[in-house]
């Protein structure tokens, strides 16, 4: 008895993005032809976005187990034990395509979606980080003015959207990163990481149990918005008509989500909830079939009981709607009144729409008739798995690019000033001041003050550190090494505030997986990430894959983003990057046991020059994007991380900041900008060119400052961890100064440099309006 009248034709199947093979599989599972609603349900559940059909076989290679992992991939979010009976629940997710089509709502609902993933597990969200990628916002690389103008609008819209949602919901947006590369002009990346905290013995899972238990729908009413968001928006390339997909973007209501959070946590405390899942991608379809599948049961729902915002909605529309701020839960039969009472108190819809069955089927009734009937497990777990063809792209000519070097003894101050104004390096203050980064009064390290954000855990002596990182430019040149750097840098960032890296989540942003070169990039990046996580003992507890980041046939730079969570045992020992005292020693720590002492060999200098061509200096000053990423030494990274954690916990350091974009010069300057008027004066001897000495981005390095009296202790610990420590300068006031072999390379007033660095992004985004707005 099928309620829908639309006939399923081969054309309709193709429009749903379902292949011949997949359709045959559907016929086999059902033992008959699917009806229109069932076709829609299969198409979203088996979409790339929901099923991971192209990535699944590769993701298996990631390390996901460790003693601290309480829940690995496969649930709404990953969970790790962080001590004191507490569990950290965290995950990162992308909302790339919606954010391009409608930046404000796309970014806003991206925040909303990942917050629900966290609180559906019983954890109160305590921090959000955003990893953003846009096209150029400054005139460079011959980009058309209208492209730059559009990029600026996207930045503005995305930032406003994140602020709109997170600020109202009441979660602090504490960090993340922003990069600007031409490849993201037609396809920006908006990856959002959310962290929540729950008592470790009070976690909730998305599993239905107990035949006859009521299935309860809570939250916002269902409308026609977001239909096929997951399948048509997230699982297909962009074309010129993509802007017309605006109706596929959902609309967010952070106020409703805030009520939903409070009501869910309060309802969970009654003890009457058996299982719960948020309605994200594929809405009612995915929650019902995934909860049934995980619990090994069936679910029957009657759509007439679903709260609806519009009249005359079909079963197809209701099952595929991605209206926001909705949850599905299973309660204990007989105790549903306790649950319903809580939601009523918060003024939210909560309706019993069905019950748990024992037949393993997702049965959807509409007006009392069966609109769809599908084995839940087949829908959730038996999606096709593809081993897509892999082929390395032909090596780019740019690998041989070289940065022309200035004559020995040249003053590089002008170049340094340009570097500080580069949007990738400049202060992100204009962005993070639009986010409430303090609400909940846990944020002890504010955005921009250190390499990682830090939130304390009230009632304990601990704090958690979080950092995200991604190296799109390096991944284009070498996805394996680039992905390793992303892991290493995020881990280093966390260690620089004194936290031990504890677990990671990822968001893998790539182009069309049906292109063998993209699939090769993906496979290489997964291998690189896997190798780095193993070497640094960081399990990956979940994440998200975003494919089809292509516009007009052109793929983005492969961009695996990693978010590393660290634990600080003694929150009082947290470090930031700011210099603290005039006269303190500045020390460069290098995880590599033996480091260039005298003049480097010709071969190693050639290699260093190849690596330098992929640096931010090469791009900003010389206009070159090429070469190879710096060679990575994971053993050195691990030694440096361990040494930083030890130094911080012993209270030896006044500040710490890892060396990354812009090299030591930028690192030193940032330690000054973050402080109250202090700045660095550094000098050393080296056989390498000044550009490489100050601007190369070789990994496994950090700059620390400390009192002269603590130097001896630092050297002892450095020797113990087999890292190298060079005293390179001291903390001073007034002039920022770098010298090499006795010659001044950079010298400028710290206030003048700080001005360039702090205002560049605001001026780039707002242009002439910048001065009028504070």
């Amino acid at each position: 008895m099928l309620a829908t009248e639309i006939k399923v034709t081969p054309e309709l199947v193709a429009e749903h993005g379902v292949s011949h093979e997949e359709y045959a599989r559907i016929q086999k599972i059902l033992g008959r032809e699917p009806n229109f609603t069932e076709l829609g349900i299969f198409s979203v559940m088996w979409s790339e976005h929901c099923s991971y059909k192209s990535s699944r076989i590769h993701l298996k290679r990631l390390p996901t187990r460790a003693p601290q992992v309480l829940q690995g991939p496969g649930e709404n979010a990953g969970v790790v034990d962080v001590g004191d009976g507490l569990a950290a629940v965290f995950k990162m997710e992308s909302h790339n395509h919606p954010s391009y089509v409608e930046p404000f709502q796309g970014a806003a609902t991206g925040v909303g979606g990942i917050l629900r993933d966290v609180f559906t597990m019983g954890a109160r969200p305590i921090a959000v980080l955003d990893s953003l990628r846009f096209g150029s916002i400054t005139p460079a690389n011959g980009q058309a003015p209208e492209v730059i103008a559009r990029n600026r609008r996207l930045v503005d819209g995305v930032v406003r959207g994140i602020a709109f949602y997170g600020n109202c919901f009441g979660v602090p947006t504490v960090g993340g990163e922003v990069e600007f590369e031409p490849s993201y002009a037609g396809n920006p990346l908006v990856n959002v990481l959310a962290l929540g905290i729950a008592p470790r013995n009070q976690l909730f899972f998305a599993r239905a149990r107990g035949e006859g238990n009521p299935v309860i729908y809570v939250g916002a009413k269902t409308g026609r918005d977001g239909i096929h968001g997951a399948s048509l928006l997230a699982s297909a390339e962009f074309s010129e008509e993509s802007q017309q997909k605006r109706p596929n973007v959902q609309v967010g209501d952070p106020f409703l989500e805030k009520l939903l959070l409070e009501a869910c946590l309060e309802a969970m405390a009654t003890g009457a909830i058996v299982g719960i899942q948020d309605m994200g991608a594929a809405g009612l379809t995915s929650t019902s079939c995934e909860m049934a599948s995980r619990g090994g049961v069936g679910i029957e729902i009657e759509l007439d009981r679903v709260p609806q915002r519009e009249t005359g909605m079909t079963a197809y529309e209701m099952m595929l709607s991605e209206s926001q701020e909705r949850m599905l839960l299973v309660a204990e039969r007989g105790r549903e009144a306790e649950v319903l009472r809580v939601f009523r108190k918060w003024g939210l819809d909560a309706v019993e729409i069905g019950h748990v069955t024992s037949d393993g089927k997702l049965r959807v009734l509409h007006h009392g008739e069966i609109a769809a009937e599908i084995p839940a497990d087949a829908l959730a777990e038996q999606a096709p798995v593809y081993q897509r063809p892999i082929a390395p792209p032909k090596p780019a000519a740019a690998r041989d690019a070289r940065v022309p070097l200035a004559p020995v003894g040249a003053d590089l101050t002008a170049n340094f000033r340009r570097l500080l104004a580069a949007p990738a390096i400049a202060s992100k203050r204009w962005i993070f001041e639009q986010y409430d980064h303090m609400v909940r009064t846990n944020t002890t390290v504010f955005p921009g003050a250190a390499d990682a954000a830090v939130v304390r855990l009230k009632g304990t002596t601990r704090a958690l550190a979080l950092a995200t990182d991604g190296k799109g430019r390096w991944c284009t040149l070498d996805p394996r090494v680039g992905a390793m750097h992303a892991v290493a840098e995020a881990a280093r960032n966390v260690a620089a505030v004194g936290a031990r890296p504890w677990a990671a989540t990822n968001c893998l942003n790539f182009g069309n997986p049906e292109k063998p070169e993209v699939m090769w990039q993906f496979s290489e990046a997964v291998d690189g990430m896997s190798e780095a996580c193993r070497a640094l003992s960081i399990p990956i507890t979940g994440g998200n894959v975003s494919f089809y980041n292509d516009t007009l046939g052109k793929s983005i730079d492969p961009t695996p983003i990693v978010g590393v969570l660290g634990v600080i045992e003694n929150a009082a020992a947290t470090l930031s990057m700011a210099f603290r005292n005039e006269g303190d020693a500045i020390v460069l720590l290098d995880g590599r046991a033996e480091v260039r002492s005298s003049a480097p060999s010709d071969a190693s200098q050639r290699e260093s020059l190849r690596e330098f061509a992929s640096s931010e200096y090469a791009r900003t000053v010389a206009g070159i994007v090429g070469g190879v990423p710096p060679a990575i030494d994971l053993a050195a990274e691990l030694r440096l991380i361990n040494a930083l954690v030890a130094l911080a916990s012993e209270g030896v350091l006044a500040s710490a900041h890892d060396v990354s974009d812009g090299g030591i010069a930028v690192t030193l300057a940032e330690c000054g900008f973050a402080s109250n008027g202090l700045i660095a004066e550094a000098a050393w001897q080296s056989g390498e060119p000044a550009e490489l000495a100050f601007f190369s981005e070789t990994g496994a390095r950090a700059v620390v400052s400390l009192s002269q009296a603590s130097l001896a202790r630092l050297l002892t610990i450095a020797a113990q961890y087999k890292i190298t420590a060079f005293v390179i300068g001291r903390v001073t006031r007034g002039q920022f100064q770098l010298s090499l072999n006795g010659a001044t390379v950079v010298r400028d007033h710290s206030a003048s440099l700080g001005e360039i660095w702090s205002g560049a992004i605001e001026h780039a985004v707002l242009g002439d309006q910048a001065s009028k707005q504070t």
Binding site: A163, G170, D436, M438, R440, T441, K458, A571, T774
Partner: protein, 238 residues
């Protein structure tokens, strides 16, 4: 022991922070008050916390003012009870007519979250009694609608009666247009009523109560409140 109430409207999101400051930092007895409550008996002071009550729909504070608890708060205030509105709480007090003026969109039309400096303009309030005259406090703001405005007569009145409690200022206490983050009239960051028992302020003192949070200057406001309660007989009850 005095008891401080923190009102919870749908969408309040600094309620936990205010409660934490009152109970864990100041070691006072503190409890949430649900927005439908009509009874404030037993409370000596009430805090209207920051957040987005009713999602800021229509206008900030415009819907919250109709909550049942607001009638109780008006009675509580009339009988001399101490009422502190922070951020959204300030907006609600203005909408409810317990404080004059209104808070409009920030001049830059953007949400701003950062530490600012405010100068204590009067110590003759229960919320600033432990401050030094002219003391500069470093306290965070986090709002999109903090641009205080009122008509000229009201402003003259506020000045005449010493009701301007805080002004945005430079770190050294100078009034400087560049230090006014949102375009507020006369750099006003906080005001009290004529009777001085109701105060609203845009900066968040509850976010500046522990060294780990980057400033403890907010304690000046909260310590003043607690000391004033200790000096007063228990506030009259609604």
């Amino acid at each position: 022991m005095t008891k401080i109430g923190v009102v919870v409207f749908p969408g309040s999101n600094c309620d936990h922070d205010a409660l934490h400051a009152a109970s864990e930092v100041l070691h006072q007895s503190a409890e949430f008050i649900w927005h439908q409550s009509q009874d404030l008996s037993g409370f000596d002071a009430v805090i209207l916390p920051g957040g987005f009550s009713y999602g800021d729909y229509l206008r900030t504070g415009a819907i919250a003012r109709f909550s049942p608890v607001m009638n109780a708060i008006a009675r509580f205030a009339r009988s001399g009870g101490l009422v502190l509105g922070i951020c959204n709480g300030f907006q609600i007090l203005c909408e409810a007519g317990l404080l004059p003026g209104a808070l409009m969109r920030n001049q830059g039309l953007r949400f701003i979250c950062r530490h600012v400096h405010v100068r204590v303009e009067t110590t003759a309030t229960p919320f600033t009694s432990v401050a030094q005259p002219g003391q500069v406090l470093r306290i965070p703001i986090a709002h999109a609608e903090g641009n205080y405005v009122c008509d000229a007569a009201t402003l003259a009145d506020l000045k005449h009666h010493g009701q301007i409690v805080f002004r945005y200022c430079a770190p050294d206490g100078r009034l400087d247009p560049a230090a006014n983050p949102n375009g507020s009239l006369d750099a006003i960051a906080g005001i009290c009523n004529r009777e001085r028992n109701v105060m609203g302020m845009m900066p968040h003192p509850e976010r500046a109560v522990e060294a780990a949070l980057g400033s403890t200057d907010g304690l000046v406001v909260l310590h003043s409140l607690v000391q004033s309660l200790a000096r007063q007989p228990a506030a009259a009850v609604s």
